[in-house]
Symmetry: C2
Subunit: 144 residues, 2 copies
DNA sequence: CAGCATCCGTGCGGATACTG
DNA sequence: CAGTATCCGCACGGATGCTG
């Protein structure tokens, strides 16, 4: 079926595989159980998840260490986001019964597998950043 | 510097390149001008941008066609998201002076370059979905 | 130290009605 | 057809204070 479209009015233009996936998600009414863009990206796409995962890419970190790494995060959001990442199985939480207690967070095996596609996206973002900025400038100047 | 850490307490565990980028962003206080996670991912990470980009991966679509492809999007959000994507230079908007007028949206060259890293992320999400679900079930069962 | 509880403002995004 | 305008609920997320 790949490369086997029979006629030219409909269009395998840019990324046929993504288009086929999209058609499937649509047939499932974008039910998060079948649409990864809805189920996964919504969670990881929040304000802090990606930055925390990247912060943990260098190795395990304690709660307060993470708080220092993210200068402008509140304890509330750090806790909440870590809980979400733990629930999804991306990070593991280990409590040390010291006094006062300390808690260490580390990437799980599953979480580590996210680093590769995430790094690709980050590299794309860095490469594209100049083009995006100039596009924004042009758009705003045109009175968009 | 790669692989050249001198001692064992600090740790190039998972993804050193991401960790190095993170240190740079941090030194810039995560200013969106230097941190792509903040500047780019925040925009594309909203509720509809990724789905619209994927919908356009199959080829140009008119406004109402897009609205049909995304069953539960409002005209308001479709317009607003398309404007954002156009402002960033990811999609191009062409108006045909028919009566009534029709407007076509297509991926720009820049927008097309996003499809590859995006497809990687989607494939990861699909692969990981079962593991995520079971992790969530375990977490919730444990009384998290 | 590592949270949890509470209060609260803002903005994202939905619903509806109107226009060129 | 392809929007714009307006209203509004609600969830995300920040600030502060308290606890084991």
């Amino acid at each position: 079926m790949r490369q086997g479209n029979s006629e030219g009015t409909e269009l395998p233009a840019g990324r046929p595989d993504l288009a086929e996936r999209f058609a499937y998600w649509q047939s499932q009414l974008f039910d998060p159980a079948h649409c990864p863009v809805r189920s996964v990206l919504d969670q990881v796409g929040d304000k802090w998840s990606m930055l925390i995962l990247i912060a943990l890419a260098a190795g395990p970190r304690r709660f307060s260490a993470l708080a220092r790494l993210l200068p402008d995060i509140s304890k509330r959001m750090l806790t909440q986001t870590l809980r979400g990442l733990e629930r999804d199985g991306f990070v593991e939480r280990e409590v040390f019964a010291t006094k006062p207690p300390s808690v260490e967070y580390r990437l799980s095996d599953l979480g580590s597998t996210l680093l590769d596609p995430l790094a690709q996206l980050v590299r794309w973002a860095e490469r594209s950043h100049p083009a995006i900025r100039s596009a924004q400038t042009r758009f705003d100047a045109a009175g968009g």
